[in-house]
Every structure is written in structure tokens, then in C-alpha cells.
């Protein structure tokens, strides 16, 4: 399945700010079932955009805007292909735990097994595990455990838009039994890590269509998790919608939790109240989206990055030719 993704972000400041430095994690990953063919980034006010790959393999773009500005707009356009997922078995058998432990011993999954800033244990979380009846490994195999967790979190929590903040600890959601996709992912990760299943946080997008009654909000970024399952590798679970992540899930970044992969993070000078507006549109497509009146508004987008990447590509080709 091909998707055109447009991710629109706008910061508005009550007073001018300056020397804004910002990092973005919006570039869809290319691995396994997913390939990102094109990615374009437009930033206003104009800025030169740089890119690096972080230690988790995520594409990070960054830029700075020295001059005073009262708004900052970012539009990311990506063309992505996602394969249909393989069929999962209904169970693996209880010996899969040994297999999992063997994998953990031989490969480096440390970071995805330990509690992290947002996905951590607490008395509330332990109580939840007891309520769910999933405190130990014994009765289920790893896949069953995850499927059960996915379903229990889905059923046990209400999805309420803006009920928590991006920096809310999961205890808020645990107490109120409501939250957003980020909370559900963190809670499920913490529960699964308690069973010593390596688990990671995924940020990305979900394609909403008429066939599925998804709980998560259309037009926004999405978050879910991936667990390491013996024989299957990293399998995505979406507790917000009680789904196995599949053809509709587009992955942009993975990390221990949200703190590793915020779509935007920045530092600026000046003191102003800020207002953040985010819109996401995922469209099944064969080609990149044409300029869009609704999302692109009246800004004139700079295309620095695009040009830079083309220049790099050209340079790389030239070097190859010289070597040959």
C-alpha cells in the first residue's frame, strides 16, 4: 500500500522569539515492511535544514532560525510504501519464553527491557497488572501475553482527546483510566517489560479509512509499541485501537519511549506563550501530494532540504564516476 503523508506543524508565539533551534523526527523509516521513497521538508521562516541518523536509526532533521519570528511552520511530505503484514500464529507455545531469553542473552536488547522515563513501573502499574491477571510469564506465551495486554489496555482505558499532556507521567492515565495513544503505548510497554519482553515505543501515523472504527483521532500523529516476539521479530501492537500494527501503520521513529522520539523538540530565546497546531493527513496514493490549499495555506515554502539532498546525490554520483 502506498501513502502520501503530509504532516503540518505550526508554532505561534504571543511575542517574537529568536534563535530557535529545532529537531524533527518526521522522516518515515525504511526497514522491514516499510519504505520511504521521498521526503520533503518545508520550513518557514526560511532555514537551512540538516539531517542526521540518531543512535536508534531514526532520521532527524534540524535547523535554526536566528531572526525574531512570531510563527514557525513545518510541513513534512512523505511518500511511503507499507507491505501487508504476515499472518501471526494464534500461539507460540510456552517454550517460546526460553527462546526469548536466549535472544535476549545473545543480542543487545538492554534498553528496551529496562524501565524508561515514561514507561516505568509504579504501585499503580503493578496493581493494573494484577487487575489484568498478567503479572507473571507462566500462563501465556509471549505473543499471547502481548495480545492480551493489547486488548486489556484497550478495554480498560477510555480514549479521551487531550486528557493528558505530552509530558504527563503514565500514573495520570492509570488513575483516571483515560488517556491518549501515547499513554496506552507507555502503559503496555511498562507491563510487557515487567515480563522481560523487549518493548519499544513507535511514533508514526495511522491511516484511517471507513472500514475500521479506530478510536485514535484522525488528523494527528499516532503512537503504539513493538515487542520482540520469538520467531517473528519486532511485532507492532496498537493498544489504542486493539490492533496488530499492519498495513495502515506508518512508522517514523522508534525509541525507549516518547522522550526519545518527540516529533519536534526545540530551544528558543525570548519569552512568549506558544500555541501549537498539528495536522496530519494520510492519503492512499501513487504519488506525492500536490500542493494543498487547506494545509499549505498562504506560506511560501522554502525547499532548502530538497535542494541539499539533490546536491549531495549529485556529488556522490560525481565521486563514483571519478573513481571508476
Amino acid at each position: 500500500m502506498y501513502y502520501a503523508v503530509r504532516h503540518f506543524t505550526r508554532f505561534r508565539y504571543s511575542r517574537p522569539v529568536w534563535q530557535s533551534v529545532m529537531e524533527l523526527r518526521m522522516h518515515p523509516r525504511s526497514e522491514h515492511m516499510q519504505r520511504c521513497f521521498t521526503f520533503q521538508l518545508s520550513v518557514s521562516p526560511r532555514a537551512r535544514v540538516f539531517r542526521y541518523v540518531d543512535h536508534l536509526g531514526n532520521n532527524v532533521h534540524h535547523f535554526d532560525i536566528p531572526a525574531p519570528h512570531k510563527h514557525l511552520t513545518i510541513v513534512a511530505d512523505a511518500l511511503v510504501e507499507v507491505d501487508a503484514p504476515i499472518e501471526l500464529p494464534s500461539s507460540l507455545g510456552i517454550e517460546a519464553w526460553q527462546e526469548l531469553d536466549e535472544m535476549i542473552r545473545h543480542e543487545d536488547y538492554w534498553d528496551m527491557l529496562q524501565p524508561s522515563h515514561f514507561a516505568r513501573s509504579s504501585p499503580e502499574l503493578e496493581q493494573l497488572a494484577r487487575d489484568f491477571g498478567i503479572t507473571e510469564r507462566n500462563t501465556f506465551d509471549p505473543l499471547e501475553a502481548l495480545l492480551l495486554l493489547n486488548e486489556k489496555v484497550y478495554n480498560g482505558f477510555n480514549y479521551v482527546k487531550q486528557s493528558t499532556q505530552v509530558d504527563s507521567p503514565i500514573e495520570d492515565a492509570l488513575r483516571s483510566r483515560q488517556g491518549v495513544c501515547q499513554d496506552f503505548a507507555h502503559i503496555t510497554i511498562a507491563l510487557a517489560r515487567n515480563l522481560r519482553i523487549p518493548c519499544r515505543y513507535v511514533s508514526g501515523y495511522l491511516y484511517h479509512d471507513d472500514l475500521h472504527a479506530d478510536r485514535s483521532a484522525d488528523g494527528a500523529t499516532h503512537a503504539w509499541l513493538e515487542a520482540l516476539i520469538p520467531g517473528l521479530g519486532w511485532v507492532g501492537f496498537d493498544p489504542t485501537n486493539n490492533l496488530i500494527a499492519g498495513e495502515r501503520h506508518i512508522r517514523t521513529a522508534v525509541g525507549r519511549d516518547y522522550a526519545d522520539v518527540p516529533p519536534t523538540v526545540g530551544v528558543l530565546k525570548g519569552s512568549a506563550a506558544s500555541d501549537l497546531q498539528v495536522r496530519v493527513r494520510v492519503t492512499p496514493s501513487d504519488a506525492i501530494l500536490p500542493p494543498d490549499q487547506e494545509l499549505a495555506s498562504d506560506q511560501e515554502w522554502s525547499r532548502f532540504l530538497e535542494r541539499d539532498q539533490q546536491a549531495e546525490l549529485l556529488q556522490a554520483r560525481q565521486q563514483q564516476q571519478q573513481q571508476q
Binding site: Y52, D54, D64, P66, V267
Partner: protein
Amino acid sequence: MATTSHSADRTGSDPFSAYQVQSAYDEMFRSHGRPRTQYRALHTRLLSMGPDELRRCKQEADLSFFNQGITFTVYGRGEGIEQIFPHDLLPRIISSAEWEIIDRGLTQRITALNIFLKDVYHERHIVRDGIIPGEMIYTCKHFRRQMRGVKVPRDVYVSVCGTDLIRMPDGKFVVLEDNLRVPSGVSYMLTSRRVMKQIFPLLFRKCGVRPIEHYSQALLATLRSLAPEERSSPMIVLLTPGVHNSAYFEHTYLARQMGIELVEGRDLVVHDNYVYMRNTSGLQRVDVIYRRVDDDFLDPLAFRPDSALGAAGLFNAYRAGNVVLANALGNGVADDKAIYAYVPDIIRYYLGEEPILDNVETYLMIDQKQRQHVCDNLEKFVVKAVGESGGYGMLIGPHSSSEQRALFRERILADPRNYIAQPTLALSTAPCLVDDEHVEPRHVDLRPYVLYGDKVTIVPGGLTRVALRKGSLVVNSSQGGGSKDTWVLAS
């Protein structure tokens, strides 16, 4: 020796009369009244001086320290108080043969630790090969995940290192601690040498003391060797947290000695992945930053968002290779007190050599068996928190109360990764002037400074830290420690 007793008779007041050589190794005396070869000239000189002259020398030295403004800041109530760095008049002397071992040992160690850091942040062979459990690395407070895969100029992580050595009762130097992040104290080494040359000019010549005054040039050369090659005259600056930092004197001292700009985070601007400093004549590009600011405070974008001591975007400029930071970030994983226990294995693994300088025997509290043994015998051990420095977070078993031991036992059990234990060590003793008139033994350690750029440079000497309180083993300046000039002899 005949001369000794003769001199003593002549002045009628032997300052060493109360000097007791104890079970610890004594730097000066083999046994009572028998100085080691390298100390003979000093011994003779001291015997000939008499109490008045000694006192006068001490006062002259004090005044010189005061006039040079050699101070450190102690934080007590609110505002920090500047104090003169306590020092002892008598030099600590190391023979050339002893120094040769130290020099080779430290070179070996910094070489291995540099390779280790590169490995930890790239391929992680050492973990895969089972030499160090990955857990030890990932649980380290100073491990910086952001450094994974980052190319460091010349693969030099540790450009400046201060290694704490102590001398065992058998006379062998062993390593107590590596300081690979922002080691300090070198300004005291340099200034105290200047003072001592004024006080004992003749003795210097007679003993053949090797010079250390080229340290600042060597540091500058080291920093320059790390600069991007295309920058023919690289701009090198020293980044300080500011006037309120306890080592601010040292920062100003080194910047002045090297003739480089002393900058604060607010002087720096990062634009399009380059670092600039804000001059009256405009922005000037910065190539190398000798930073005396801790990792977490260097860049609010990459690390602590509340830090005002660094510059936003600095880490990205560093990753892109547009600016050099010395030392590199994330070095704390290699001077963690628990990783320390693995350094001999690290040396063997990367260099295929036996360590020239041994470690102190160290028990890891994360290991169940070792923990049990230590917890059962706490009164015999020194327990240290791995992330702490400056002599804080320590239990000295033999000097502890049962309540303190119970408290530490609890702490160890609650967070075993955070603690290590070492047997109580008899630090060697060196003569110190007490009450400005007689000489008594006090415990000392030694911190030589190692520089690593295109080559390893170790100036012959270091900071000898001394526990000025009688019987004390704590040499940290924040806790009653002082310093001594360290003389390494030419032959």
C-alpha cells in the same frame, strides 16, 4: 648516616624528631632517620634550616600563593567563599625510575581507555565478547546514548585526563581512580611549582628536578592537533560555567597561560551547524572547545533543557564534525567506579598487554557473592558510590559507626549497581610541615595529568594531594586536603 646526626646536633632542633615511620609506605624514609636516595638533598637542607628559617619559608610561600590569587570556592551558606588553596611547603619527590613506570603505565591506560570508549560507542566488541556485561555500561549514569555512532576527531575521547595514583605499602604505585571527564587541579600543580622555585632555588638545581612548566603549551598543542584539518589557524577557546564555578580560578589561569579566549555558554551561538562566539567585532567561528562544563549542561537541545551554561545546537555541530569538544562527551562511562574494576581486562583485551599499573582490589556490589562478602565485613572496607567524586558518598569502614554501616548496607542492597567496595588502603605518607615548625607524616596520593592528541604527553609531576589532618585518608580539597609540589628527578 653520619651527616644526618651531625647536622641535627649543629642546629640543636631536628624538625624530624617527632617523625614516626608507620606501617604505610613512607615517601621519604626507609626507616627512622634513613631517608631514601631521592630525598637526601632535601633532608640535609631541612636539617640545616632551623625552625625560624622554616617558618619564614612557609610564610613566604603563603604570601606568594595569596598574591597569585590561587583560590578555590567553597560553597556553604549562600554565596561561595573563596579560600586560599591549602598547601604544604615540603615537596614530594619521585625518582626517575619510579616515574618511568608511572609514565608507561599511564600511557598504556589512556590508550586502552580511548579504544574502549570508541568501542563502547560503536561496535561494542567488548560486550559481545563477554569481557564486560552490557548491563554495566547501560546502567552507568554517565553513559551517553547520543554518542553512539558519533565520529570523534582522531578517535580521541580523552584528551585530558587526571589519574589518581596511590602507593601501596610495598612501594608500588596503583591506580585508584581515572578522571576522564573534566579533571581539575592542574593549575595548582603549576602555581605551586612557581612558588617552590622561589623558596628553594638551589635545591632545585641540586636535585635535578624535571620541568613541568610546558604543560600549558602541551595542552594547547593537544587541542590544536584535534582541530579540523582544513582550519589552518583554528580558534580554540576554553568554556567555563562562569565565575561561580569552584574551579573558575583554574579556568582563567589556563586560558591566560594558553592565550586563548575564556568563554561562557552565553558567548556562543550555533548557526547552520557551526559554532561562533560573539565578539565586539562580529561573530567568530570556534573550532575547538576545551570545555570545563559537564556533559549534561553543554547543549539544552540535546541534554538538560534547563541548562544555560552551554549553547543550543552545540552537539549537532559536534556530531557534524564542525567543532571539537575536548574532552569528548560520554567519557564518564569509562571512569565509572564500577567499570574501573574492569580496566585491567580492558587493557588486556585491546592491547594484549598486562597492565603496568595495577588497580586497587575492587568489589562490585552488583555481584551477589562479592556483595555478601562486603556486607558481612563492612568495617574492613571503603564503600564508594560509583557516580560520586570529591570524596563524597563514601563509607570508611574502620572509622565508621555501626549506624553508618547499617545505613550503607541498606543503601547497597537498595541500589547495588551504584556501589563498590575496596579494602581500606594505607595511603603512603610523606613529610609535612606541621605548625610551621616540625615535620610529621601525612597521607598522600598523586594525580599526574595525561594529555592525548596526536601523541601522549605526560609532564613529569602532578598534583600531590595530602590529607592535612593527622591520620586522615581523605585528600580532597573540599574536605581538609591540601597540595604539595611534586618533583620528578632527572636521574
